[in-house]
């Protein structure tokens, strides 16, 4: 058996390690201070695809990302980890996309790739934690979805069976191809250097080759990273980017909490005992 898989991966600012310099003096977010990383759950998506490929070595994994030029880093990392092909969906007209416009663009690119069995994405991206793009891509393609997948239990000729998280438990669900899965971090990804496919660090998009004054790689070279625009995927420009986004940000505000009248207590026996006794006396505890 061989399977044709598409993995959706997003480059995100590492919001897990927001340090003090992450906020500018004017209170806005300093994106430059946050490293751009491969969205963690998308690595889990790639991991699930790699496990299938381990079992069925002639299977293929195409990594698809939409983002600015530097998002090609995600593709290089994916190839390095064992994906077969990388596609960067990039165009100024994609900028400002909400989840709906993002899923429209991704679905157009997937139609162009065509002939897949499985699409695997992360459950959610850590920059917004919305978990919307997966189900929206599935809807746009008219295929079933299984979100919150923890592991792939078995894969057959025409179907896949997964264990997925549900509210308060788990279930085992089976679906025929083509289908879309979104996966959680329930299973460990293999370490980053498990496969040393160093050469993939040199993979480049045609745009990057040109910027470095190099000949682009031929398209059949695995180091060639495809770069697709709105026109390349036959997308309707009105449905892309800001104009294709029904949600608008009305305002963004820094939160300054109304300071309560708080009582300061020093770390010494007397003050802490007084506090505990007070809480006992007014029946807050005990």
């Amino acid at each position: 058996m061989t399977y044709k898989m598409i993995v959706l991966a997003k480059q995100v600012p590492d919001t897990r390690n927001v340090g003090k310099d992450a906020m500018k003096a004017d209170g806005t977010v300093n994106r430059a201070a946050l490293p751009a990383i491969f969205n963690p759950e998308d690595l889990c998506a790639l991991e699930q695809a790699l496990r299938i490929k381990d079992q069925f070595p002639n299977s293929t994994i195409t990594l698809l990302t939409m983002g600015p030029g530097r998002a090609a880093d995600v593709l290089r990392e994916g190839l390095y980890r064992g994906a077969d092909k990388g596609i960067l969906l990039t165009d100024r007209a994609f900028a400002g996309a909400d989840t709906l416009a993002t899923s429209y663009a991704l679905a157009q690119a997937i139609k162009k790739i065509g002939g897949f069995d499985l699409i695997i994405g992360g459950r959610q991206a850590i920059d917004g934690d919305t978990a919307q793009v997966g189900p929206q891509v599935a809807e746009k393609l008219g295929i079933p979805q299984l979100t919150y997948t923890e592991s792939i239990e078995s894969i057959g000729e025409h179907s896949v069976t997964v264990k997925r998280q549900i509210d308060g438990g788990v279930e085992i669900a089976k679906v025929e191809f083509p289908a879309l899965l979104t996966v959680t971090a329930a299973q460990q990804c293999r370490p980053r250097n498990a496969k040393f496919l160093m050469k993939y660090k040199r993979a480049l998009t045609p745009g990057e080759s040109a910027a470095q004054g190099k000949e682009p790689y031929p398209m059949d070279n695995p180091l060639f990273l495809a770069e697709w625009s709105v026109a390349d995927v036959g997308a309707d420009i009105v449905q892309c980017g800001l104009s294709g986004s029904p949600t608008k940000v009305k305002k963004v505000e820094n939160i300054i909490f109304q300071a309560k009248e708080s009582r300061r207590i020093e770390d010494n026996n007397q003050e802490i005992e007084e506090l505990v006794v007070e809480l006992l006396n007014n029946h807050t505890i005990g």
Partner: protein, 339 residues
């Protein structure tokens, strides 16, 4: 027409807490908008649902009762909502930010090309001025959620597309019965007219639902540990304090990520929302996403070695000191002074 709809999540023929909370919120928003509150129940053997939900002030309850609709799978539920919404043209649709809501909401919003905002912490009605196109929109739903690494709160609107969709986590809104004798209408639909066999693509082979492993949501006292607790071993101090004063243990995401404690104890925007009478925050800095899950606690005590920790701004008692030193003192003084 143009009413506010709530999707009811149903497990074991019981309407989920979060759906009840949304009915209460939905009722008050509907009053403000001068529209009706409608609820949608999709499942099997739903005859008791009307009795359960109409007292929240539901004007119309839509029932889709069919054996094929349980257990929940995405596509038949999505098709029913999409087709119903095409007929009814709701202005707003609210769902729980549960696994089901987060699986179903985006599928429905995609089919209707309507906007959806996940995990809102507040919903209010207000106007919106689109400065670029010089248009003013009256009475939109402000979908308010913390965003991006803390410190900011975004207000999202969907000016043009309907319905305006939002998901909200359990515990964020308060539920309250409006009137036990409220008069609402029940509309029984022929479910099969709203979905096709193609929608039955997913087969559920087995299902295990367990009661929540902890009672954090309802606990009157919560002792929560953050990254500042420092280690799994130190977390035992937090557990000991909690045990001693009959509290449940909670945690910040940083503590969960560091492996100090299980994920199901995470409090905050992407965890559980609690509103205990006493919240003791140990080694938690107080980022907005954490506050989102606990700021309605009646009394907050913070234990932090940084006197300037942001969480102190919402505290009633600020203890400045390390966990290692303060927590054992609290335990021993409690033991000495109780009874």
């Amino acid at each position: 027409m143009k009413n506010l709809f709530v999707y009811l999540e149903i497990e074991d023929n019981k309407v989920a807490e979060v759906s009840q909370e949304l009915l209460t919120k939905g009722r008050s928003l509907a009053n403000e908008l001068g529209c009706q509150l409608e609820a949608v129940a999709i499942g099997y053997k739903l005859s008791n649902i009307a009795h359960e939900v109409i007292p929240y002030g539901v004007d119309i309850l839509h029932l889709f009762d069919d054996e094929k609709l349980t257990p929940y799978t995405t596509m038949p539920h999505a098709s029913i909502l999409v087709n119903l919404f095409k007929e009814e043209q709701p202005q707003i649709c609210l769902m729980g930010a549960t696994i089901i809501g987060r699986d179903l909401g985006p599928r429905v919003s995609s089919a209707l090309t309507s906007g959806l905002t996940a995990d809102c912490t507040s919903l209010i009605i207000g106007d919106y001025e689109d400065k670029r196109n010089k248009k003013t929109f009256k009475d939109l739903l402000y979908q308010i959620r913390p965003a991006f690494g803390g410190n900011i709160v975004a207000t999202i609107v969907n000016p043009e597309n309907r319905p305006q969709m939002a998901t909200v986590r359990e515990g964020v809104m308060k539920k309250a019965i409006l009137d036990e004798d409220y008069k609402g209408e029940v509309k029984e639909h022929i479910a099969e007219d709203y979905f096709t066999d193609n929608d039955l693509a997913v087969e559920i082979l087995c299902r295990q639902v367990e009661k929540a492993a902890n009672n954090l949501k309802a606990a009157p006292i919560v002792v929560a540990g953050g990254y500042g607790v420092g280690s799994k071993e130190n977390f035992e101090l937090i557990e000991e304090l909690a045990h001693c004063i009959n509290a449940e243990v909670g945690a910040s995401r940083a503590a969960v990520d560091a492996g100090f404690i299980e994920h199901d104890r995470q409090i905050g925007q992407t965890g559980i929302t609690v509103r205990p009478k006493l919240y003791i925050a140990c080694g938690i800095s107080g980022q907005i996403q954490h506050l989102a899950g606990m700021q309605e606690s009646s009394i907050v005590i913070t234990i932090n070695n940084d006197p300037e920790a942001p969480i102190n701004a919402i505290a009633d008692y600020v203890i400045t000191g390390t966990i290692e030193s303060v927590v054992p003192k609290m335990i021993s003084f409690y033991k000495q002074n109780s009874k």
